[in-house]
Symmetry: C2
Subunit: 188 residues, 2 copies
DNA sequence: CTATTATGACAGTATAGCTTACTTATCTAC
DNA sequence: GTAGATAAGTAAGCTATACTGTCATAATAG
């Protein structure tokens, strides 16, 4: 099989990051900028892959998976949230959630109570057992985040947050901003 | 069904972020730190969810999914990489990759050529068609990252990168550092 | 009373991962 | 040159996590 010119060129570029392959003088700035953005994607991929690995291993001991982790996380973050709110956070369908929430309720990690004003709603909370599991999962990640934060330093952390906020759409931003507002009012 | 005290307490905390619920004077610092780390997880989740949404929509037009996106991304990033290297980046098994790579090769997005020194290896490259698709996917995300970077500013971007690097394990760090080394040697 | 809403349930499909095991081609070392 | 190691491909079968569509129930809102 004869190689196409593209394939030959690509072979030569092997192990060289894309930003270093340009030779034209004028293309430099544009090229670097694109490379920079590609690196950002690389890093997001790596960080996400490595952050979720440890909790996943724990969850598999209990016959649970990633979906259950996300669910436990959000119920822990906003105790008493409704099924509808949880769906909005997770960005999945009700039918998908049912099969994740079902086992969590059946095995006693999550409890449901009817809403006070609107009794159609099912307010979700973690049971003692659920809190214990969620804490165990969080502790894995806390160590990793704490190390990364300490290593990077305070201003870097602030930058990290600013960029992440910029990457998220309105719904998530509103949530983030509501946390910030609370903190600047409450703490200090 | 009678509510447990925990459920009642949780209901009251509804919509209040965890950091604002502490009343004891001494617990403040520790509590804020934990809240801060939980917010980081929230934000990583949101950013990842929102970043991947647009490319996914495009891919589904072609009968492809997330896994194909990641595969195209890495082949594009390191043209001529071997199957083994790709597996290491993706962190999945060979058998899982086969079912992702198969359609990409069959439909003419990815080409294979035997390795020059080691002819057992199959070096992977994007075809013209594959490059076009990858670029289309990247362009979605470029806009988002560019906006986030511009909004956050240069120092924030640097901090973003430092924290992300801290969150990743050795393999990913080595890769990231190799890019940085290249850039600081090559550019400027 | 009727329409809407919140939730739950059933059935089927697709994607993306996994394990285990076998084959083929090629390289390396003796 | 043969033997064993290695890179890749292949096959059968399993699991988890999403999706779609449809229907049921109960409570709220008008």
């Amino acid at each position: 099989m004869q190689d196409t010119p593209t394939q030959v060129l690509n072979r030569l570029k092997r192990d060289l990051p894309a930003g270093s392959t340009h030779a034209q003088p004028g293309a430099g700035l544009l090229f670097l900028r694109e490379e920079e953005l590609r690196v950002a994607q690389d890093m997001m991929f790596f960080a996400m892959r490595d952050i979720t690995a440890a909790p996943l291993a724990i969850l598999s001991e209990f016959g649970l998976g990633r979906a259950h982790h996300r669910t436990l996380h959000w119920i822990g973050r906003k105790p008493g949230l409704t099924v509808g709110e949880l769906l909005a956070f997770l960005g999945i369908t009700k039918q998908s959630l049912t099969r994740v929430l079902g086992p969590l309720i059946r095995d006693g990690y999550v409890a449901q109570t009817a809403g006070a004003q609107d009794r159609r709603q099912r307010l979700l909370t973690l049971t003692e057992k659920g809190q214990a599991l969620e804490r165990r999962l969080f502790d894995c990640q806390r160590d990793r985040f704490l190390a990364a934060y300490r290593e990077a330093g305070g201003p870097a952390v602030e930058g990290f947050r600013r960029v992440l906020r910029g990457l998220t759409l309105k719904q998530g931003r509103d949530y983030i901003d509501s946390l910030d507002a609370h903190r600047s009012r409450g703490a200090r």
